[in-house]
Subunit: 468 residues, 2 copies
């Protein structure tokens, strides 16, 4: 446990001198805004919100906070689902929102250099205009920041074909808690030059340093895609179809699973009744293929349709045009909000080898029956990444904060026994921290804590996250 | 600097009791064999060679060596090019050659679990029989070990399309210097669960722990490929063509550059006169495309041929059949041996953003002229990875070990100024260590040294590598 100093007037004066009045916020409304993200119903008030916009300013802030032992919690777009950006110990909330410049799109080397506060979709659109593609694509892409994506090693639907954030990050400018600034690597596709500090920072949830510049690799933009929605009478069959499709040699560019509730709630939430859901349907797969040759994509869709038919599916909906495609994707992207609008929930971000998905789903439901909770499951089935949304519904506070913990523990133990892990793309943050020991023995956690100390010897940076 | 204990009779007795007489080698011939790898003409004698074949044995060895402060140098296939497997301080040479089992090819999840002492090509062929593909493919694939590939984050010709070793490693069983055994991650495609220890181990050159099991992801095997050899009248033009091909939206599965000398020496070395090289040719590109649709590959080859023609190329040789393809690939793979048979040389493993290749090549030649050395350059041009072989030829010992160091420093400074790094796939090991400060400021090197201490507090594991 850390005991931090309190932000006082002298600190505020120093911050105002550095950043200007407008970028040092202490009024209650602003503090309240930065007290939460998209994680459940958690709130932690910071003492002050700082909004630097240069590496030099971040460096000075970190140096100051190390010297005076003030906790610093970095924050991107505030869309996190594990509480990683919540200032659990108060202190300084470091908002990266003014780091919002795309510095250079390098068309010759298929790279982009950007600041971390750029909205993911803005970055994607900017490179798309040059015929380039940055695939990692969280559902929150319209509001999340690329820096936050790096902190959490985000994935999204395209990961199944194109990989996750870690597969695109080449180099990072990083401000250490001491205030020192380094580049973690080089802007090249191959690197065998010392320890991979870049990959150590990706997914470290803002606990090792503040990322102030990012070099990403890009790929050529695929010219065409096709999309279909496949209903199944059994959710386990839908999961089983996923691995059959890959075994047949297909690599869809998206392979999304939604339980009946997920899609139905999303349809209601976005007020879009264009998707009829038959009474006997228990789950859907949303399957996309992409590439440069429409005739081949059509062949692939037909091949995939042939496979899903063997898993007792209903009538397949082929999205005919970009309007219908957008409409289906909108439904998929808004499932999380729809679930949230329905009830308080806890979202578990389980991931297993994809062939184990049916076993995981069956196990989650069985555990739910024993502990008396309803869950709505959906996610990136092609990656074996299943978001298990546990609905509060009529559970008592005692159940919600008590026995449910044991139920979640059982889910995670199942995940581990299947060769999986407890977070695929949301991170550990605050809310999954109590479960880390299920995955890692003490010796591994000790290694991680010691690595944290190497970067942040005084423990001021994003304290209380990942592990104590 | 470390001061280690000396291996004595009591240590040898303990090792024999653990492994059996046959796997504890102390005779001069064996020690001499393990005193070198493929790095220049370096030799360091170990005191003893140990050949364990279980994780438990490795754990006991590490525990013992930590207790008695004996240096341990792990070794794979002995094909390294930076001296990473050389026992600079003597002591224990830990050969992983008996860890040679492929444990499980998981066709449902497209993964393979293997021991580290499996020869890379053996692993590739085993998964190929199941229609699967493990792309990373060093030239030494017929003798190098998959464990060594992980230590060095190897690449090879396919990296340009398929990525390097780090892009395929999902999970590692690791014996720490303390003897404790951990798994670094999980066998899944997405992971946001604490710090990425897996990626920290990949490329760490055996300095953080001993890898005893490896889980790799696999991809479907492309069914077809086409190959062509393109001669250019200017080496810089050949390099310029590389980036033009990618800019046009093509992603070849290999894009290899060879200066005239490289190909000519290889042709002589493998006694294969089937490739005529015109007098005015200065360099070649060996270009491969792969995929599942032969007609599309043919279209791509024609498109690429159209582009190279704009860079003043000679007559393109299309490999018509698998015999001719194998013959061309054999030439490419044996360039390093051919150069070695010609003269003592130092191989620098430079890498830059690919569009900077022509500038790098021109700079290397210019530096060579100033310092009086001849270089033969070849490598994975699609990745911007240029192997610069500096030929000893008639250089005096004083030049070779003296002023040449300054020449290499200038090459690496050029590389850095172009956004590149000093090793793409060979690692730092022993021979590139003096140049690390060109790439990294002291604060970064300090971070790396501290991470080393987290894993190996007494400094017994592969001492003297990467940094002092």
């Amino acid at each position: 446990m850390n005991y931090f100093s309190t932000v006082n007037d002298a600190h505020l004066e120093a911050f105002r001198a550095l950043l200007g009045e407008a970028f040092v916020l202490t009024d209650p409304d602003n503090l309240a805004h930065y007290a939460h993200d998209e994680t459940e119903d958690l709130h932690f008030l910071p003492s002050v919100v700082l909004k630097p916009n240069t590496t030099e300013q971040v460096s000075r802030i970190m140096e100051w906070c190390t010297q005076y032992h003030l906790p610093v919690t970095p924050r991107g777009g505030g869309t996190g689902l594990s509480g990683g950006a919540l200032p659990q110990y108060g202190g300084v909330l470091l908002s990266m929102e003014r780091f919002n410049r795309i510095i250079h799109i390098d068309e010759r080397n298929l790279q982009v250099t950007t600041e971390p506060g750029v909205i993911t979709e803005v970055l994607q659109n900017a490179v798309k205009e040059k015929g380039l593609f940055y695939p990692p694509d969280p559902s929150s892409r319209g509001t999340c920041f690329i820096g936050g994506n790096i902190a959490e090693n985000s994935g999204g639907p395209k990961a199944v074909k194109y990989g996750v954030v870690k597969d695109y990050v080449l180099n990072l400018e990083l401000v250490l808690p001491s205030g020192e600034v380094i580049w973690t690597g080089a802007s090249v596709l191959k690197n065998a030059t010392g320890y991979n500090l870049t990959q150590l920072i990706v997914g470290s949830e803002g606990t090792l340093g503040i990322v102030t510049k990012i070099v990403l690799r890009l790929i050529p933009l695929p010219k065409h895609d096709l999309l279909m929605l496949v209903p199944f009478r059994s959710a386990e069959n839908a999961c089983a179809a996923v691995s059959a499709i890959f075994r047949a040699g297909y690599t869809p560019s998206a392979m999304e699973f939604m339980e009946r509730d997920a899609l139905e709630w999303a349809v209601k939430y976005v007020d879009n009744t264009s998707v009829p859901i038959s009474a006997d349907v228990q789950a859907h797969l949303l399957i996309e293929v992409d590439g440069n040759y429409p005739e081949l994509l059509m062949q692939e869709m037909e091949g995939i349709a042939g496979i899903v038919t063997e898993f007792d599916c209903g009538e397949i909906l082929f999205a005919d045009d970009s309007v219908q495609k957008d409409s289906l994707w909108k439904l998929r992207r808004r499932v999380a909000e729809a679930v949230k609008s329905n009830s308080v929930y806890k979202e578990e971000d389980t991931v297993v080898p994809r062939a184990a998905l049916p076993v995981l789903l069956k196990g989650v439901k069985e555990i739910g029956r024993r502990y008396g909770f309803h869950s709505v499951c959906y996610g990136h089935a092609g990656d074996g990444n299943l978001h298990v949304n546990i609905i509060k519904g009529n559970l008592t506070e005692a159940q919600w904060n008590g026995s449910l913990t044991q139920g979640i523990t059982e889910i995670f133990e199942l995940v581990k026994s299947l060769g999986g892990t407890i977070s695929g793309e949301h991170g550990i943050g605050l809310v999954q921290k109590p479960y880390m020991h299920i995955l890692f023995p003490e010796v591994s956690l000790h290694l991680m804590r010691q690595i944290k100390k190497v970067f942040d010897p005084t423990g001021i940076l994003n304290p209380g996250k990942i592990f104590d």
